[in-house]
């Protein structure tokens, strides 16, 4: 009695899912066996009918109901902003907003530093006026008075030298006159503030840029 092919082989043959050896076996068998050929034909008809069944249309209200449940703004046709700008436009807008936020932050820091400097100037002028002395310009420093208060500074004779810096730090000595200490300490303090402002800005930008990508 002649054996017949298993249905799963015939079915996989239709789907082209047989290995070479099985494929040769099936093709050889159906060329000789009319019963298996008929079964294969019947299965092909079924597959053909199944594949002709049209896909049902997605209900038009489905997108909106999902968006509502998920708490999203889009309904049919996508979010309004997306429709207006497209994906590239949306990405550009997002980058611009982030850049604006960074710029605003940097400007804020600069403004704070400027305000701090102005307040320091005003405070110094007030104290000088109260002491009855004119506000001297930096080159007009009284080196003799400095020498009396901080000998290291006058001995060096170079206000920008390391010794000078030490002298300035020494100016924090509570014995020193408040007016002159302010004068000496003020200039580097401002430079330092300015540097901090720039470094802070750069650091802010460096920290923010990866997040924008």
């Amino acid at each position: 009695m002649r054996s017949h092919l298993a249905t799963k082989r015939l079915s996989a043959y239709i789907d082209d899912e047989l290995h070479d050896r099985e494929l040769r076996l099936v093709e050889s068998h159906i060329s000789e066996c009319s019963a298996c050929r008929d079964r294969l034909h019947g299965l092909r008809l079924v597959v053909g009918e199944l594949q002709r069944v049209p896909a049902a249309e997605t209900p038009p209200t489905l997108a909106a109901s999902i968006a509502t449940e998920a708490g999203m703004r889009w309904g049919p046709g996508g979010p309004p902003v997306d429709r207006l700008l497209g994906r590239r436009g949306l990405a550009l807008l997002r980058d611009m907003i982030q850049l604006s936020a960074i710029t605003a932050g940097a400007m804020g820091i600069i403004a704070m530093l400027a305000a701090y400097g102005a307040a320091q100037d005003a405070s110094r002028t007030t104290r000088e006026t109260a002491a009855g002395e004119p506000a001297p310009a930096m080159p007009a420093l009284d080196t003799a008075a400095l020498h009396a208060l901080a000998p290291g500074v006058a001995a060096a004779g170079e206000p920008e030298s390391d010794e000078s810096d030490r002298g300035r730090l020494d100016g924090d000595d509570p014995v020193a006159s408040p007016v002159e200490v302010d004068l000496v300490v003020e200039a580097p303090a401002r430079e330092q503030s300015s540097d901090v402002g720039e470094v802070g800005e750069d650091a802010g930008l460096r920290g923010a840029l990866p997040g924008t990508e």
């Binding site: 799963k8 079915s11 996989a12 199944l50 997605t58 489905l62």
Partner: protein, 193 residues
């Protein structure tokens, strides 16, 4: 396969990951894109498993909400298509139960909602639709495990490997289930002819 599916660009692993990543970072257009791509597939699967358009809509909504919540955890281990099919299938099984899946009230009018084919003409279209309804009704009488496999293969067009990933069974099991499902359909349709 519908025309929109045929026109859609193939989803590579990179694109799947990109879509999930954009969703993870709050880009709502990513989920919209995902919906547009997979809604027909999810809805049709729900319809073919539940047999009820209204129920299929509810099921589809629930499936997409699960996808919405789960997408941030998607790591690209399988394709997004397979991943979403798994969610849809498991959700339908859970919501409908074995009895709900097998004992379905079937309204033939609801099955064929596709556009009429002008090339067939009115009479040909009527006959074709009648045949489609007959097949669809017969499909619903199949045991769930065969129906799932046949629907995924012959109506959704998944490969054996994809079906194995969705059903979490071996490829040999997929082959067997598809074959048995088709064989039963063949008997059913021949007996009605």
């Amino acid at each position: 396969m519908s025309a929109s599916q045929a026109l859609a660009p193939p989803l590579t692993a990179t694109r799947d990951w990109d879509l999930a990543d954009r969703h993870r970072y709050g880009d709502e257009s990513a989920f919209r894109e995902l919906y547009d791509r997979f809604a027909p597939m999810v809805y049709n699967l729900c319809l073919r498993l539940s047999g009820d358009p209204s129920r299929a809509q509810d099921l589809s909504q629930e499936v997409f909400l699960r996808v919405f919540k789960g997408l941030p955890r998607y790591r690209g281990g399988s394709s997004l298509k397979t991943w979403i099919y798994s969610i849809a299938l498991n959700h339908c099984r859970g919501r409908l139960g074995r009895r709900g899946l097998e004992l379905t009230d079937w309204n033939e009018e609801d099955w064929s909602r596709g556009p009429a084919d002008p090339a067939r003409g009115p009479e040909g279209d009527l006959l074709a639709r009648d045949g489609e309804r007959r097949v669809a009704a017969a499909l619903l009488t199949l045991p769930v495990r065969f129906r799932e496999a046949v629907v995924l293969r012959d109506l959704e067009g998944l490969s054996y490997e994809e079906i194995a990933a969705v059903l979490r069974v071996r490829t040999g099991t997929v082959r067997s289930r598809i074959a048995r499902g088709r064989e039963r359909l063949r008997h059913l349709l021949e007996s009605k002819a």
